[in-house]
């Protein structure tokens, strides 16, 4: 007699449906885009695109800039990870906190900061020209391949710092000590005792940074126009300006396929990390001495000069006003007045537009992501693959796909496409919070009379409420800072903050752009601050 209960099968069905919906949310736009590729269809589109030299130039550019950017982020991030993991020093928390930077700062804002700092008439060039009496600005690579790499490196290194730093600080140091006691030198002991356990975290963070740079759009649109374009920019240009939907669809397919491979590789490194998870208590932090002290100081100066410099100059520009073009700048709130109350006041309408799409996008992402995470907890490898799919679909591809599904278009598509971008973060955050919950309270709720669904809501969702709150803030900041989707799906009259920024930069109204940027950055940081305060009670 087999006594599998119908309730159990029903539960499985619900979680399978949830995952199917999750996978469909990423596959549907892609499929729509493929089918919309008109007359010749996808195959002929692929054939003609794959025979163009322009496609291969773009592919090579995409991969090479992503690789160089990942290496740059590793070079900047790994020393920081080592310092955060091993030493106790003033500013350690602040260094760890910059990990939210890539998410809370819209890419357009970062581009603006880098222009102000590294641009031909930027702070750094003016400083160097003054100090060394130069007649020409010495730094001129911003609008080139290396400019893109520099921006990406500084934009994404906090991710490496956070992921590797966290893995490193939870590694028991006993294996390294054991290697030292067995006669290995410092370096060899590190290579034997620590590096193998750290490698998956390095691979994982590098994989994510590679994927984000692979999908780079705004940075490449602004800095890369002379040196080349990424596949993401190619899709956008062909669809939006060259009336070549089948070419756009073909490139979108190739781009997504490569992204799926990258996501799969990240998944493999995750599994390896889980297999290597070592037991034992994490080591105590120590005060840096000798060489470590010098290294820490050098790193602090480096970060302050190259990373904080652009941000400070952005804030500085926002508060700097000139009476006339030739008058010296002075500190004032003129730029804020212009965007908030002048005749061309644009901030508040843009804020309203941002809220009208970012809040629904964050809500969709949180609802779908939380149900997906609950299902993921009960699912196998197939479920994990379904949940990883949204990572492989870029904002531009999702936008074009949704507009293929709803050809009438409209701003209502913006939250749909943006929610897909925020979904992986929500899933990851809620799923990891769920994983830390014990199974027994859920079973206890069942034995106390709660059905499967009620137990999941009462125990699991309540247990991860703070993670869901944080994920909402996260999704809100990601959607509010996104420029890609509004650029593709935006209609006249709809201008959210990142698009406003983009327009102001294009019109060289940089000081107003800075003022918008400061307010946007402050709002994003506030959302993160609030989400971070929502810790579980007791």
């Amino acid at each position: 007699m087999n006594t599998a209960a119908p309730g159990r099968q029903g539960g499985r069905l619900v979680s399978r449906l949830a995952l199917l919906a999750l996978a469909a949310a990423s596959i549907a736009p892609l499929a729509a885009l493929a089918l919309s590729g008109n007359e010749g269809g996808l195959v002929s589109g692929l054939k003609s695109t794959l025979s163009q030299a322009r496609f291969y130039r773009s592919l090579a550019f995409t991969l090479s800039q992503a690789l160089a950017s990942t290496i740059a982020a590793l070079v900047i991030g790994l020393p920081g990870a080592a310092l955060v993991a091993r030493y106790r020093f003033p500013g350690r928390k602040a260094l760890k906190a910059i990990s939210v930077f890539p998410f809370s700062m819209p890419s357009v804002l970062v581009v603006l900061a880098f222009v102000l700092y590294y641009g031909r008439s930027g702070v750094l060039n003016r400083f160097l020209m003054q100090v060394f009496g130069l007649s020409e600005p010495p730094i001129g690579f911003l609008y080139s391949f290396w400019g893109i790499v520099l921006v990406h490196g500084f934009y994404e290194f906090p991710l490496i710092l956070q992921i590797v730093g966290e893995a490193w600080s939870s590694l028991p140091r006993d294996t390294e000590r054991a290697a030292r006691l067995l006669g290995a030198g410092r370096l060899r002991a590190f290579a034997t005792g620590t590096l193998p356990s750290l490698a998956p975290a390095i691979a994982h963070s590098a994989g994510i940074v590679f994927l984000l740079c692979f999908f780079s759009f705004a940075v490449v649109m602004i800095f890369g126009s002379l040196s080349g374009s990424t596949l993401e920019v190619e899709v956008y240009r062909r669809a939006r300006f060259e009336a070549d939907p089948s070419g756009a669809a073909a490139i979108a397919m190739v781009e997504t396929l490569i992204a799926v491979a990258i996501v799969a590789a990240i998944g493999l490194s995750d599994r390896r990390a889980a297999a290597l998870k070592s037991a034992g208590s994490p080591p105590e932090l120590v005060r840096p001495r000798g060489a470590a002290r010098v290294g820490l100081a050098a790193y602090a100066v480096f970060i302050a000069f190259f990373f904080l410099g652009p941000l400070v100059s952005l804030v500085g520009q926002a508060f700097s006003v000139r009476g006339s073009p030739l008058a010296p700048p002075r500190i004032g709130l003129g730029n804020f007045e212009k965007i908030l109350s002048g005749p061309k006041a644009s901030f508040l309408p843009a804020l309203a537009d941002t809220a009208s799409t970012a809040i629904p996008a964050a809500l969709i992402a949180v609802v779908v992501g939380s149900i997906g995470a609950l299902s993921l907890r009960r699912g196998g490898p197939l479920a994990r693959s379904a949940a990883a799919l949204p990572m492989a679909v870029s904002g531009i591809v999702a936008s074009l796909g949704w507009s293929a599904i709803f050809p009438v278009g409209g701003t209502f598509l913006v939250p749909l496409a943006q929610s897909l971008g925020a979904l992986p973060y929500v899933l990851k955050s809620v799923a990891s919070s769920l994983a830390s919950l014990e199974a027994s309270p859920l079973e206890a709720a069942r034995t106390l009379g709660a059905g499967r669904v009620r137990a999941a809501f009462d125990v699991e969702l309540r247990g991860v409420a703070s993670a869901i709150g944080a994920a909402f803030a996260f999704a809100l900041a990601v959607a509010a800072g996104d420029v890609n989707v509004p650029l593709v799906l935006g209609r006249d009259g709809y201008e959210p903050l990142p698009v406003l920024l983009y327009r102001l930069i294009g019109a060289y109204r940089l000081q107003e752009a800075c003022a918008v940027g400061v307010l946007l950055g402050a709002l994003s940081s506030l959302a993160f601050f609030l989400s971070d305060r929502r810790r579980p009670r007791a």
Partner: protein
Amino acid sequence: MLRLESLRRSWPGFALDADLALGDAEIGAVLGPSGSGKSSLLRLVAGLERQDSGRIVLDGDDISALPPERRGVGMVFQDFALFPAMTVAANIAYGPKVAGMSRADRRRITLNLARGMGIERLLSRYPASLSGGERQRVALARTLAASPRLVLLDEPLSSLDGGLRRRLRSEVAAKLREAGSAALHVTHDVEEAMAIADRIFLMREGRIEASGAPEGLFEHPPSAWAAAFMDCGPVIPAISIDGRPDAPIARVSFGHIACGAESRCEASPGECSVYFPRDAGSLESVADDRRGQARSELEINRFTCKVETAYSTGRSRRTLLSPLASPDELSFEMDFPLSVNPARGEIVDLVIPRSRCGILQGLPISELARG
């Protein structure tokens, strides 16, 4: 009343096959070593796992196919499984709330139980701020608040320290009897099972090996394995069994042991053991001319032994003895009154009354390992 009828479930490398009957308001202890399937048995009864075949009957209703929430079975988990995001009061009131009781009724039940358990002052606290003992009480109160027909307890005392564990086990038993619901308590601690249960189910490798009232089971263990697991006293492999069926005499490596009439071993002599409780023997001094010599093999139930160690357990003198006649350096522990205090290395005679010796089926665990 709970009845498990040929309840079967198999996992890779392990199979559970159990028959069990527990009376109304009776407290049963499922006792067995780690990995014997005790917790799995409980999870099957609770509906947290599904059986491959067999029936679970509670108060005449077949609950085998019901989901956990409809079985009327409560469970106290090993880690207590309190809801971390709810206060103690909300934890206790959870079952009544799910059952749709009014706020006033929930409050009354919660307060009554909290008072009874002495946890009234904890009601507004969260589980993370509670001590182990407090969590245990909250978990029991939460389970009882749902008025289950059967309470399952999955080693709920195992994470607590010794003194608290002893105090709480009598408290748990008292509360369960007060509530009048039947209970099945899983433990690997013999003393705990003896203290709590009306009936003990001895579990071994997925099967119930024996069951019975605690004292009877301890005094007359049903097999060599049971005697060894419950640590009742020495279990010694028998070489052969002679004598009349109503007065069997077992030959062991160091002599002959006459046993009580009720003991029996159906297996061949090489697969039987002799057992006597640890407190069954008495020590007698040996005449000077016989020191260092073994007694004749024909002298029954009297063995000359060397005292290896002797120490006080606080209640008795635990003494490790090795019979001089034993060719294989066998030794075993016996308990004597504290007034008996043999010196280390002293040669003594151990006398065991025939009525307290028994023949058991099977070999002691060490012999099985050797074989």
